[in-house]
Amino acid sequence: MSEAASAHGKGIDELILYVHLLMGALFVGWVGYFLFVMFRFNRSANPKADYVGARSHASTYLEIGVAVVEGVLLIGLAIPLWARAVDNPPGPAEKPVELQVMAQQFAWAAHFPGTDGKWGKQDTKFADRGNPFGLDTADADAKDDISVVTEAFLLPVNRPVIAKISSMDVIHCFKSPAMRVTQDAIPGLSIPVHFTPTKVGDYSITCAQLCGNGHASMKGVFKVVSQDDFDKWYAEKSKAGGAGGSFE
């Protein structure tokens, strides 16, 4: 596993580690036992089987033990981590960067409200491949909106991001392994995910849901950059404005 590049990623990695420790312990224990039994109780070593077999209750304790550890991991780690992931979005005080992400066969697009901080008017009837967000270009609020189709978009480092994931055709899946973020992009639903990138770099968005013959090549890229670089890019793009780009 590559190192997590987001604030909450560590928690997820820890959970994965602990579960694998449990699994490892069970695996090593049982394989050891199994091999021992194969030698100790094969036909030549033990020609006459014992009707009763094992008399100890160790296995019961073992089963209870497994149940308890699972319970601890569940209540101690998994449930709180999930709650953090889907509830508790960062409030205005934390100045999150907000964007909409739109999937289509076979590309990603991102939409920022622009320097005015207001989303432009959107309607399906304007939507097409080059304008996946259906921005109404006549709308005043839409003039400075940023809409990047297929090319990379930027995110500032160490600032919370709220991305609303949706799709215009079939189900895709917004997955950034390094950010430890995965969310299906489902047409008809717009679902927010939030995370805080902690490392500068280029990250790929994997489409993790089969979406057609171009599924494998549906790669998106976003760059995590410093706040300054982000602001510069944001202002520039905002000035250019418009519904976005062409779709190749």
């Binding site: 509830d87 309607d123 304007f126 717009s190």
Partner: protein, 122 residues
């Protein structure tokens, strides 16, 4: 273990006697009447304006359930059926309920601030 074949002539089965069956027939006819009345009630309910939709649904399903109970209980003899049949039906009732309830719950309980109208439905 295997069934000895009964003499074909006079055998009309189990432990029911003719007058039992005659009594059953009377019950069937009463139930028939009740079902018709239930149908009329259901339709009448449509023309009554209950203030809330929930109430309308509740009333309609209540009447339907009673009718269903009558059909299942008497026509299908479920009231005097064997334990095994109850077991099977209880299982399917549980799973049916969980299918319905969990699906509704699952599609209703979304992450915070989710939007079910897509981004750009007017």
């Amino acid at each position: 273990m295997s069934q000895h074949s009964a003499s074909p002539a006079a055998s009309h089965g189990g432990d029911d006697h003719d007058h039992d069956i005659a009594a059953h027939v009377r019950t069937y006819l009463i139930i028939f009447g009740a079902l018709l009345v239930g149908t009329v009630l259901t339709v009448a309910m449509y023309y009554v304006d209950f203030s809330s939709m929930a109430l309308t649904v509740a009333v309609a399903l209540f009447i339907a359930s009673i009718k269903a109970f009558l059909v299942a209980g008497y026509f299908m003899h479920l009231l005097s059926e064997k334990k095994l049949v109850y077991g099977v039906l209880i299982l399917s009732a549980i799973f049916f309920t969980s299918l319905m309830a969990l699906t509704l719950w699952g599609t209703g309980d979304l992450p915070k601030n989710s939007d079910t109208k897509t981004l750009y439905v007017p």
